[in-house]
Point group: C2
Chain length 204, copies 2
DNA sequence: GGCGTGCTGTCGCGGTCGAGCCATAAAATC
DNA sequence: GATTTTATGGCTCGACCGCGACAGCACGCC
């Protein structure tokens, strides 16, 4: 067999990422296994372990890719009006979660890496997301100072996040047989928040 | 060996719940193993599998106990004023999550049971929680009709839930080295929501 | 005898460890 | 300086452990 020993590690990494991507299009995270992945890319399971340190770490790289995609899915609505921008941001978040549910769930419902570096990269990308929310908030209500905007962004985005998660898991309850639409609730949240922000900016 | 065959199943169940409880006081969910549990209660692993159907199902029973505790932690603040009642509810939620972080995370971040019945019991208990929020909302703003209150309760509690989760995982970011306090953000969310509700009830 | 209850044995899983291999760096020889 | 020999280090693998899960066997109660 022309089994190429001494792979270039990056090539293997790319293969692994591609295999994960293909799998996650159809199947949830917990069905992903190190061994099946190794079979897909044609190497021994322990090879991947050596490469990534642990299976969780491997998954964290997938998460980083997910975060990049999320950033991309959100970046094209760069320069809209402030008010719809926040709603559009929330809707883009929700649609991304709906469009790639397995990757989204993996991002937030899976044990974190044991390496600190990866966690930092994640945190950094997430901070960038928050920054967009902050700037949109300040554009909408210029009276907000930095710290208030930062807090408000966290509050708002934490809320959006909660609704998206409960919506993905169909945990928002039902009304007359119909599941509560996360999109509607998100719109309500944003409307309410923006109204409250317009007329009663909390001075704290 | 005086190994008592033919256990009473309920006794075994109680032992298992107690063992899980003891374990979860100190250790996170993913360190819980069927085999170690079986060792603790003195039976073979497969015995627990037969009893519960799957390990996930066993964990779902723990989740139900958690939900009961959460209901209890919330029930004693039955008859306060409407406004602080909602804040107190959110704070009780947050404090419960802080006080039993492993149980809380297990409740929301773990794969669900494969039996429908358990999921229904969970959904039922959660609905009861929502109902408290709804009634508090209607007490605060009597102009809300049923469906509006139901939606608002979902929106609000989904938001609270998101903040609590991000707060538990320290994912709310930092400000001048200090982590964002979920309690503060929750207070901000409630204040903002209640203000918006007081002056601008969305008629949808 | 029938039935339910509990156990043993086995599978694939994630993870660890030590051995083997090969490409290149370093050293030795001419 | 060029060529051969040796040493080093990273990549890969196979064997093994404890895990959750399943199938099949053994026993005790009615």
């Amino acid at each position: 067999m022309a089994r190429p020993r001494q792979h270039a590690p990056e090539a293997l990494h790319a293969q692994v990422m591609a295999a994960c991507d293909a799998w996650l299009r159809e199947n949830p995270v917990h069905t992903l296994s190190l061994r099946s992945l190794a079979r897909d890319v044609g190497c021994a399971p322990s090879t991947l372990l050596k490469l990534y340190g642990s299976f969780s770490n491997l998954l964290q790289y997938v998460n980083i890719e997910t975060l990049d995609r999320m950033g991309a899915a959100v970046s094209w609505l760069e320069d809209a009006e402030p008010t719809p921008q926040l709603k559009a941001l929330a809707m883009a978040y929700w649609q991304f979660a709906q469009h790639e549910p397995h990757r989204w769930q993996m991002l937030f419902e899976y044990p974190l890496a044991d390496e600190g570096e990866l966690d930092e990269r994640q945190t950094h990308i997430i901070d960038a997301l928050f920054l967009r929310v902050e700037s949109a908030l300040k554009a909408y209500q210029p009276a907000l100072d930095d710290v208030a905007a930062k807090r408000m962004a966290r509050t708002l985005w934490g809320s959006v996040h909660g609704l998206v998660q409960l919506g993905l898991n169909d945990r928002l309850g039902y009304w007359q047989g119909q599941p509560m639409e996360a999109g509607d609730l998100l719109d309500q949240l944003l409307t309410m928040t923006l109204n409250g922000l317009r007329y009663l900016p909390d001075p704290s």
